[in-house]
Symmetry: C2
Subunit: 399 residues, 2 copies
């Protein structure tokens, strides 16, 4: 029989972690560097220490457990994810990947395997973006951090770093020498319904999609809703509504692998009895390569009479072929079904892809629900994911 992780030990850790920052409806609030998150990180180091593993915290607050290779100069194979959550999040997102990484180290140590690499289970700081987003993994990869105008605002960032004892000017010291990294491997829940829908156990992630977001403003003419005949109106709300419908039809009919979303829409002045003079639309779309993003963007805005303001842009990240092969091979060895798919969400793996071979595997999310207390993955799927992580890590450590 193939080597397996200790499912009971992993379960015990999972339940203990889920209690830290627990919310009344059974989710968690471990927003980056809040009290519950800091408590979870301390607990993680205690668990590593209790298992006889080395621990470390870097200048960006990333917390690690290490299983050293005999050769002090051996490079490191990083396994990880994040312990922070969205404000009203679920118990699996991020947490499963960190705990499975820790469990892989314990399993390898218990089996007394001698690997030619140091194994490191890492919990990255602020993956979810309460502060900056991918803060810890960007720092490790030596990528520029948006500290001047962070997503959560300057005050929130400054206050959080102080609470965690981190120094803003030293965050970049967390950068690793790429030549000392073998690869980065992350287990995560899918956060979407495709694996469950296909009845497949393991997802081999081919790429993390790119995303672009825009604020689209339609200008009409505010007017009295009683006295202004329909043919004398310039209704910004109607123009925006037709744009929302158009966006959906274009993506569904012409770009089957992409997604596009209008998640917010506001009308001004915004009253029952006034035709809208302005409509603000928040548009975001994602696709797995730049060329598709370019084509989709051009098509969505083709002939649209509106003011279009770019808000954010994330480049697509192809994941490493060696890592994909290692994950698929591990699934095959374990007799688990797998398929390739893209990640529609951002992950720490996209930061690491800039400096080392980086890859991810997914396990199914029940009903595709995520960022929600109802987030759920069957325990068998969690264990399967941890075992694939183990065997993919073993494969990568040997080449």
């Amino acid at each position: 029989m193939k080597m397996q992780i200790d499912a009971q030990r992993l379960r015990s850790d999972f339940d203990a972690l889920a209690a830290i920052g627990v919310t009344p409806d059974g989710g968690v609030d471990r927003s980056a560097l809040n009290d519950a998150h800091l408590e979870a990180r301390r607990w993680f180091l205690e668990r590593a220490d209790a298992a006889g593993l080395e621990t470390a915290v870097d200048a960006a607050g990333n917390h690690s457990a290490l299983l050293r290779a005999h050769d002090a100069n051996a490079p490191t194979l990083l396994l990880g994810s994040h312990l922070d959550s969205v404000p009203n999040g679920g118990r699996y997102d991020g947490a499963l990947g960190v705990l499975a990484a820790l469990e892989v180290l314990r399993t390898v140590r218990d089996a007394e395997l001698e690997l030619p690499v140091t194994l490191e289970a890492i919990d990255f700081t602020d993956e979810e973006g309460t502060l900056v987003g991918l803060l810890g993994s960007y720092a490790v990869a030596g990528l520029p951090l948006e500290l001047a105008n962070p997503r959560g605002g300057r005050d929130v960032l400054v206050e959080a770093l102080a609470r965690a004892g981190l120094e803003e000017s030293r965050l970049t010291d967390a950068r690793r020498d790429p030549s000392q990294l073998v690869a980065y491997l992350e287990l995560h829940i899918e956060q979407g319904p495709r694996l469950e829908g296909a009845g497949v156990q393991i997802g081999v992630v081919t790429a993390i999609v790119g995303a672009r977001s825009f604020r689209v403003t339609f200008a009409g003419r505010a007017a009295h809703a009683g006295t202004t005949p329909m043919d004398a109106r310039a209704d910004a709300g109607l123009a925006a509504a037709r744009f929302v419908d158009r966006v959906n039809r274009i993506v569904v009919e012409e770009f089957p692998d992409a997604v596009a979303t209008v998640g917010a829409l506001e009308l001004e002045p915004g009253a029952f009895n006034v035709v809208a003079g302005l409509a603000h639309v928040s548009l975001e779309f994602r696709a797995q390569d730049e060329e598709t993003l370019d084509r989709l963007q051009a098509r969505l805005f083709e002939g649209v009479d509106a003011q279009v303001e770019p808000v954010a842009r994330w480049e697509p990240t192809p994941l490493d072929p060696d890592v994909r092969t290692a994950i698929a091979g591990a699934a095959d060895e374990l007799g688990l079904s797998w398929r390739e798919l893209t990640s529609g969400a951002g992950h720490d793996a996209q930061a690491l892809a800039n400096v080392t071979r980086s890859g991810m595997l997914f396990v199914p999310s029940q009903n595709g629900v995520s960022h929600n207390p109802a987030e759920h993955t069957s325990w068998d799927d969690c264990v399967n994911g941890a075992n694939v992580l183990l065997h993919a890590a073993l494969a990568l450590s040997r080449r």
Copy 2:
């Protein structure tokens, strides 16, 4: 030559009134019973007094100038409108009708005409609805006032009444004996573009349209905008957008004389990266008769999967045929072009229609703009309206 009002005297009053509550961009803020509105009402009584007219203030705060008939038992022909405005309103809405009514009284007095009726120029309290809406005219007509849950909130109402020295429990004392009323006649700007568009000088109002408003809530499923494929979404925002488009198409294609408006739309949770789980739509529609309103309502909601909550309902008000004949006849006598049209906005005339013959005439609004500092009616049109008001009043006073 036919008798005419004194255009210069009317202009002088118009300019003086427009300076009371003037806003930086040349509009007015005379929200009901605010300081500027109370000043305008004092000024109105002073102007009436200076012209040798009797003045009166009733228990609902309605301010009047009176030209008494010789016969102390003669009934009253009411001419009027309102001096209050929306918070950032224009100089014509309401003001023109009150000043023209005052000018009619002065013109009749100057001409030493002996009429068989008392002429009363009345300024109704709170037409625009800062407090209750049509407060003064409802009180005169003996209609129930919504004082428990007023449009502007209880605190605003209580404070405003106190400031104006009015007693809430006595507002209903303003009720008039219908047998003592001959008719009610109101000059107002159209607040829409139809007269200007048709190149017609006078509008004879056939009815004040009825309106119904609803809060329509679409329920979907909030979901991650990156990980949720298009075919796995229940997007409340998309459903709402399609409803907005549908409402427009139905009204334009099937109900040419009606209007329908979605003036507000909100998505929840309302973020770039979350598919909307809820969409709140503010829908209002207006038509000139109940049967059309019923048919339109049924058609708009036919097969729509949403929660529909009625918010408000105003019945349509047909205006009096005698008054319409008097207005059209006066326009003909003066060689002015006229057409019949409905009023898409509510007016004090709809309250008075419950107790006496009630009618309205409109003059053109430049570009149909109203409730806006840019509100404008050419001075010639204002004078034409005042002259039609004069001759229609004379005609009504004689039968």
